[in-house]
């Protein structure tokens, strides 16, 4: 318990026991203020890059390559499925807490094929409020106070606050660019096996990996995953694998599920997202897949946090999955057609950035691209010293150039900030017109 808290508690107790004395020393205002202290678990967790930057970028005149959501429409059949579901009475009422039956069955089918193993729809799957909700259920269910959790930088920003909220310690390890080489692809970033090994301790409960990675776009190879798996088995830790961008992998690369490596199914929770799979981020549905002895603890968290996810949305996602299950392996399966569409946009954005004199890090997967803004030589000394360069740059760029991105240091810990503060993250799951508008802004950068 913090020192301040101890003093406050003592003060409260004294006030309660000796009310007349206390009235002389405190107004009712200050007694009320001392009582309404928040729980310790939220201390230091108030900052959030999205809360900060989404409102800045909300102005419709701003070309928004910031927050990761599509401005391209979702496939019409999922919208139709939602409208259809909502017209059925029963679909507007509560469904099964751990996942709507038709959805968990569909997930079981799709992932049974992907994993080449039977996935029990009732015991090995939990439907959650987005990939975010899956991460939360996983961490709350399996990570305890005093545990350590290894997180690979750059990381989707919620991993650290979620681990801290669970009372555990994040242990960070950065992806590093291969030395000597100018980084032109996300494949040029790697995890040093010795450095990683040194991060494991007797307190390590889990490692969180994200493949394809947000923001870099790295797709971990089988060999790289094997190194991680070997360490998990050696140190008997769990693995939380955030694979929300699993279908968005570009030519020449393959998404590998760490849970399929020997010895890993029993210690891995794999996270997926309907929002990223079907370009419907506003539906907020995701899932955790893993062995029963782990999933059951996530289910306990679910039944004590929000109990069940919305029904009509789950029904619609089920329909979307069933449709694409039949098409798996064929070009018109959305899982592959979306990747093909995005590869074109990826290449267009990379070209735009190169034309503007910058070197983008071309991602192997996902829908983000990192770019080093050093060549733009933007003087931001007027903005003071209290923030990393990329935060200042993005704020300035939104205001002055009407182009929104996300600062990459939001995805790293304190010690790695210097390594990443010249990078910004751009989202390319956008209409071609949006990408071209960004191109125009960058082309005219020098013009005032």
């Amino acid at each position: 318990m913090s020192y301040t808290r101890r003093i406050l508690n003592a003060f409260r107790f004294t006030c309660r026991s000796f009310p007349t004395n206390c009235r002389r020393f405190c107004t009712s205002q200050s007694v009320m203020a001392s009582r309404h202290t928040h729980a310790k678990r939220i201390e230091g967790l108030d900052k959030n890059v999205w809360v900060a930057f989404t409102s800045l970028a909300a102005d419709p005149s701003i070309v928004n390559l910031g927050q990761g959501f599509p401005d391209i429409p979702p496939p019409s059949y999922v919208k139709d499925a939602l409208a259809k579901a909502a017209s059925v009475d029963r679909m507007n009422q509560y469904t099964r807490g751990f996942g709507h039956p038709s959805l968990v069955k569909a997930l079981s089918q799709v992932y049974g094929k992907v994993y080449s193993r039977q996935v029990d729809p009732l015991k090995e799957i939990l439907v959650t409020v987005g990939g975010y909700g899956s991460l939360f259920s996983t961490i709350q269910g399996l990570v305890d106070e005093g545990d350590e959790v290894i997180i690979v930088e750059p990381f989707f920003d919620c991993y650290v606050p979620m681990v801290r909220m669970a009372g555990a310690k994040p242990v960070l390890i950065p992806l590093r660019p291969k030395s000597g080489k100018k980084t032109v692809s996300s494949a040029d970033w790697y995890l040093d096996p010795d450095e990683l090994s040194a991060k494991f301790s007797s307190k390590t409960k889990a490692i969180i990996i994200n493949t394809p990675n947000n923001p870099i776009g790295k797709v971990f190879t089988r060999g790289e995953l094997q190194v991680i798996a070997d360490l998990c088995i050696k140190h008997d830790t769990l693995c939380f694998s955030d694979e929300v961008y699993e279908w968005l992998v570009y030519k020449g690369h393959q998404h590998v599920k760490i849970a399929t490596l020997p010895g890993m199914w029993d210690r891995t929770i794999t996270i997926g997202s309907a929002g990223k799979t079907f370009s419907v981020t506003g539906w907020k549905l995701g899932w955790s897949i893993g062995p029963e002895h782990l999933i059951k603890h996530l289910q306990t968290v679910m039944q004590n946090t929000l109990y069940t996810c919305p029904t009509p949305l789950q029904e619609a996602v089920a329909q979307g999955l069933l449709l694409n299950y039949k098409l798996m392996g064929q070009p018109d399966c959305y899982f592959s057609s979306l990747a093909e569409e995005l590869e074109g946009k990826r290449d267009r954005l990379a070209a735009i950035l190169q034309e503007a004199g910058m070197s983008p890090v071309v991602p192997e997967g996902g829908y983000f691209m990192l770019v080093d803004v050093t060549p733009l030589n933007q003087d931001l000394s007027h903005m003071g010293d209290d923030e990393a360069y990329d935060y200042k740059f993005v704020k300035w760029m939104i205001k002055e150039k009407k182009l929104a991105a996300i600062p990459v240091t939001a995805f790293v810990g304190e010690e790695s900030k210097e390594q990443f503060e010249k990078y910004i993250r751009l989202c390319f799951i956008k209409e071609d017109s949006t990408l071209e508008a960004a191109g125009d802004i960058l082309k005219n950068w020098r013009k005032v």
């Binding site: 729980a39 009422q93 506003g282």
Partner: protein, 444 residues
């Protein structure tokens, strides 16, 4: 409970986790200690049973009729709306919705509510409660829970590291109690439960399962204690529009001195008969909401967009029609009033004693006069009402919920002769239940 939690890590070391290929995973404990003692859940158990036996379901609290046309239309319109309807919206609540909620409830509460500071939209009222407990209850805090309570309050207090302290509503007098209004909270008993560690009290009005609608004097008594002892108040008001026989729903947050210390929780699911949409909210002073926002942004972060858009339109319509006969908030309780009467008379006709609820979705019934042979080995060690409900599902195909599930372990024995019926069902469902009960009473 505390002792078990302390010993748990040591106990589990003795029992390594084995898995199917006999590979040892985690010789130490896998799960987080916050999940200890909160894994059992009455709904999971009973909804499964009702489904397995295809019972006429008056158990779980959801309507078997559709939401009103105007919200369904609003949802369809949102779904076919622009691409932004299917993408992330504002994390703490879709702007259109928080504005509608602030406008609507400012008028009801008599206090200017800031849509962006004083409102948090959540995945159902359930998640609003979760955010309140996680944000404001800490290790060692005590939370007073008025019994009977919606079952999630207790595990949520536990998961936040708090201690639940129970105070039961008790039927006054000794004779048969006919109405939920006959169940009261003793001011002395409540006061006796307050200690220096008490952080908050949670109340539910209209109450689930009892149906009690707290009168203003009763809320004033609670408010006085909250102010005197500087407590927070979590007020679960999901059934706020469902009051019968002239009972008036009063918001404790509207009493003097209570706005800044009360978190009021509401539900679109119960308001618009669309429980499957899972849209809820917490309304309070910005000082408390800001802490809840932190939990929200680190747990689910956003709620689904289209449903929020639809609920917003629902509230705008109701704002205009408030107090008029076209208002859904008038029509729904009027319709449910009938169903309530129907179920009550049906229960009485077979010799059961219903407690008439002043509000809400549910009616509890005293089953002590019923004589059945609950010959079921599998339920031998459970409380009487649990055993009775399971028997009723298996033998008669009628699903209800045992009321002792809504009481603390220390008081459940006193209240194990009641079962809960949900009457927010199509007439055909109520008639089917009536048929089952009639056949049963004729056989006796």
């Amino acid at each position: 409970m505390g002792i078990i939690r302390i010993l748990a890590p040591y106990l589990t070391l003795l029992r390594p986790n084995l898995v199917q290929n006999h590979q040892l995973i985690m010789a130490r404990r896998l799960y987080a200690s916050r999940t200890i003692g909160v894994d059992k859940n009455v709904w999971v158990e009973f909804t499964q049973l009702a489904a397995d036996y295809k019972a006429v379901n008056l158990g779980q609290g959801f309507p078997d009729f559709s939401p009103p046309q105007f919200v369904q239309d609003a949802f369809c319109k949102a779904v076919s709306g622009g691409p932004q309807m299917h993408q992330y919206t504002r994390a703490f609540g879709h702007p259109r919705l928080v504005k509608s909620l602030a406008k609507f409830f400012s008028r009801v509460v008599g206090h200017e509510i800031d849509p962006f500071e004083d409102v948090l939209v959540t995945v159902g009222a359930y998640q609003a409660l979760f955010c309140a407990f996680q944000a404001l209850i800490d290790d060692g805090d005590e939370v007073i829970i008025v019994e009977p309570f919606f079952d999630c309050y207790q595990p949520m207090v536990l998961m936040a590291g708090g201690t639940a302290v129970y105070v039961p509503l008790r039927p006054k007098g000794g004779s048969s109690v006919l109405s939920s209004g006959d169940w009261v909270l003793s001011a002395e008993e409540l006061t006796s439960k307050i200690t220096p560690r008490t952080k908050a009290i949670i109340i539910n009005t209209p109450n689930n399962p009892l149906g009690k609608v707290y009168k203003v004097e009763e809320l004033q008594m609670i408010a006085d204690l909250c102010i005197k002892h500087d407590l927070l108040c979590f007020s679960d008001e999901v059934y706020e529009w469902l009051t019968y026989d002239g009972a008036k729903h009063v918001k404790i947050a509207s009493l003097p001195g209570m706005w800044e210390r009360t978190v009021t929780v509401g539900s679109a699911g119960k308001t618009f008969s669309a429980t499957g949409w899972k849209v809820g909210w917490a309304i309070s002073s910005g000082k408390l909401i800001k802490h809840m926002k932190i939990i929200h942004q680190n747990s689910v972060y956003h709620c689904a967009t289209a449903a929020q858009e639809a609920v917003s339109h629902g509230f705008d319509r109701e704002y205009e029609l408030f107090g008029t006969p076209e208002s859904y908030f008038q029509q729904l309780p009027a319709m449910l009033h009938q169903k309530r009467q129907k179920l009550a008379s049906c229960l009485r006709s077979v010799g059961l004693q219903p407690v008439m609820p002043e509000g809400g979705y549910f009616m509890i019934t005293d089953i002590s006069s019923v004589n059945v042979d609950l010959n079921d080995e599998s339920t031998k060690n459970e409380s009487y009402d649990f055993r009775f409900v399971k028997w009723l599902i298996k033998e008669k195909g009628l699903a209800t919920i045992p009321v002792s599930a809504f009481f603390s372990p220390e008081h459940s024995k006193e209240f194990d002769k009641y079962i809960r019926f949900c009457f927010v069902k199509e007439d055909s469902t109520l008639e089917a239940a009536e048929e089952i009960l009639r056949k049963w009473s004729q056989k006796e």
